[in-house]
Symmetry: C2
């Protein structure tokens, strides 16, 4: 058989031991917080029916779906007109009925509707699984990556917004990363349009606000964009006045005339009331300029960024590492109406990159290797060493042994390559005495120990 040079598809990755351990450290941290807050895990299949996925992510999203070819003689049922016309997009539906999960939100909505009779609402779920997108691969953007979502569905209680703030706060505290949790409310954006008398231009207003920090010439650029979108100059000062606000209180007077604005303020205050007395580790900031996911969210919106005002984190350049919000009708598309929900996600891939940059991974994830490696120099000693390593493992200690009683140099090379901190050396002398020479690789100190004393020392 022909030998081939092995590779993996563009935009996908292999993860070696250290990367898997570090990624699991993030996932385990997140999960432990989710569980403390009463959230339950679910998992959905990698492949969904294309009828479930198509049309949910806009036209661009549909093009980024990975479609799975039907098995067997798929051309038999192919659309013959599309074939004749060489029309790829027309043909697809007839030769592919499954696609790879594009996010966790649509599968979650599908799950809730499909299993609604088995679920207790409000249903609190988390889901940590890979998703696939046929994006052009580039630095930091992959075709396969993990999403990490936590949602509660079937209640409009603002208590859950408070819980999600706390979850963000606790997770990043546990990870050792200081963040800013930015909070806004869709109705506060609606209130702004309302008081300016441009409610019909809400989408144009929010799109512009969403890009505020991207205009090269600052507010001037935003004004040009607003004008271009039909929001006339006489409104710009009033918009600016609201966007400059930094606390809810300042908005009260400005929004006195807007019912929807007042409603947004009241909801935000209720969230803060739930959080009163909660000792936030990170910064929670009301941010009237936060306008993400405009078509999707109907209530509170969240975004998390690395806090670059904190010592040691000044140089981190990274977009949002989390976000979410409340949605009024996620499951309507699958036929289940009036299910309000709220959820946030963790950008695990970006969190990983930031933690790597700031060296925040604990030592044990960096070098998750056994506590000791045994070396032996003759057959009988090797057998004796294997009994020692077995005894340690049965006592719950992670331990390993070089597979052959070969030259010391070769075995030490292996020990160094894997980075063991302790070596258990067994030659004829040790074997005869029933003991082990323990070598500390950092200090080079050597001690002759009985098996019992070795166990004790490694347990400490």
């Amino acid at each position: 058989m022909k030998t081939m040079k092995p590779s993996i598809p563009k935009g996908t990755r292999d993860f070696g031991p250290e990367e898997v351990n570090k990624r699991n450290y993030i996932f385990d941290t997140v999960k432990s917080v989710f569980v403390r807050y009463g959230f339950h895990p679910i998992e959905t299949p990698a492949m969904e029916n294309l009828t479930t996925l198509t049309g949910k992510y806009g036209e661009e999203g549909d093009q980024l779906l990975f479609k799975v070819l039907n098995n067997g003689d798929y051309l038999r049922k192919a659309d013959k007109d599309a074939l004749a016309a060489l029309d790829s997009s027309q043909l697809t539906a007839s030769i592919s009925k499954r696609g790879l999960r594009y996010d966790l939100t649509v599968p979650f909505a599908r799950f809730v509707v499909q299993h609604q009779n088995d679920l207790t609402f409000p249903f609190k779920r988390y889901q940590i699984q890979p998703v696939w997108r046929a994006d052009r691969p580039q630095k930091g953007r992959y075709q396969e990556f993990y999403q990490c979502d936590v949602d509660v569905i079937g209640s409009d209680s603002l208590l859950y917004e408070a819980e999600l703030v706390q979850i963000y706060d606790e997770v990043f505290k546990a990870l050792g990363l200081k963040v800013k949790i930015r909070l806004n409310h869709r109705k506060i954006l609606e209130g702004l349009a309302d008081i300016c008398g441009i409610s019909d231009k809400l989408t144009d207003l929010t799109i512009t606000i969403d890009k505020l920090d991207k205009f090269k010439n600052g507010w001037q650029g935003a004004c040009e964009e607003l004008s271009k979108r039909g929001i006339t100059e006489d409104k710009h000062a009033q918009i600016k006045q609201v966007l400059d606000v930094t606390s809810l209180d300042q908005l009260k007077d400005l929004y006195a005339s807007s019912e929807v604005g007042q409603a947004g303020l009241a909801e935000m205050e209720k969230v803060h009331a739930f959080l009163e007395g909660y000792d936030l580790h990170n910064t929670l900031a009301f941010d009237v300029t936060l306008a993400r996911g405009l078509s999707y969210y109907t209530g509170c919106i969240f975004e998390v960024v690395v806090d670059t005002d904190v010592e040691g984190q000044e140089k981190v350049k990274m977009g949002s590492i989390g976000g979410g919000g409340r949605y009024a009708d996620l499951t309507g598309i699958f036929g289940l109406n009036d299910m309000s929900g709220v959820g946030v996600s963790f950008g695990a891939e970006r969190i990983y990159d930031v933690m790597e940059e700031l060296s925040l991974f604990p030592e044990e994830t960096r070098s998750a290797i056994p506590k000791i490696l045994f070396l032996a120099f003759d057959e009988a000693s090797h057998m004796f060493a294997f009994k020692q390593v077995t005894a340690l493992r049965q006592a719950g200690i992670s331990a390993d042994i070089y597979p052959e009683p070969t030259k010391f140099k070769k075995q030490m090379k292996y020990a160094n390559a894997r980075g063991f901190s302790h070596i258990g050396i067994i030659g004829e002398d040790e074997r005869t005495a029933g003991k082990i020479t323990l070598k500390n690789m950092q200090t080079s100190e050597q001690t002759l120990l009985s098996p019992e004393d070795l166990l004790k020392q490694l347990q400490d």
Copy 2:
């Protein structure tokens, strides 16, 4: 938008909270043993290049590969002759260059070759990820299922065979399931062909042996099969004599004339020497009739089945729940030769089913719900209750709260549906006193407690 009835592809599954927790219980148990034995985790992408996958699983396997349609205008580069002839199998290579992982073995081989310069050999890895096969869905057979593999590559030391026996033993001990670990050696099968003078018929011999327990009329059926395969009747008695052997010692004389048979015996004895003094929890049985994976394995072969001789497990009907063996040249196909390896896998899906049947999952995986649910009956009490639940969560206790201060009956219905064992009730009296009424749902006992005493009680 049209409302659609949601469903998932045939042969795939959603996993609800209890199933995820139980599955993770198996995976976590397995992982903790792997880590103690010095194995490291790796992960590979769901999609591999089809050039990596095709031709590795036989013709049938190729047909069971899920192929992913190329993105964009895939017909532009399609094989026009295949299109004209409506030849599906001819067309595939030109419209699909990626496929879903079919097992973890080929991706592992690909990984080792691709990253050989970054790995330290012998390389001990485990991998727990889903695989996809376009098998016809049926009871217990899915198109998406997890595999759980542990391998060491780059050494022919028989110490690793011993480690894998210990790993099987420890994992099933930890899971509470008694198993039989069956062990044989490829060279013992070769020895049998050798002493019978039918080395050219080795494959026919092993195929027949592999089916021994499937013949309706027992040994008579096997003889018919042997004859049909050109192994003449005069050999049958000699074959039977070896197949009836139950210990290695009995084979010594029978194999006196066979070099390869002697070599197999010597290797098996070495494995047993490593295991001497190891206190096996399960049954380890030499089984000369074990002949799995004939084309693939070159040394020891393993298989694990539920031990139906053990009390309480008599009724379990289940094929093998684990298996593996030594292979001389897994990576040769990708251009890296002379890399001996040995590995076994755990049939996680079957283990799950058996554990479910025998009720072996611990209580906490059955009902992984928070320790307490708070109920409140007015706005102020609800706010007070939220502070209590927050305090418990911050102390590391998993706790939850009903999202609204609504009718007692409605809240209790929710508490019962989720199955909480403790309820924290807060009405005006409790709030005024700064206390919580703790109700044990099993005993219906109620106690009025301070927040500190509640914490203490829940920590116990």
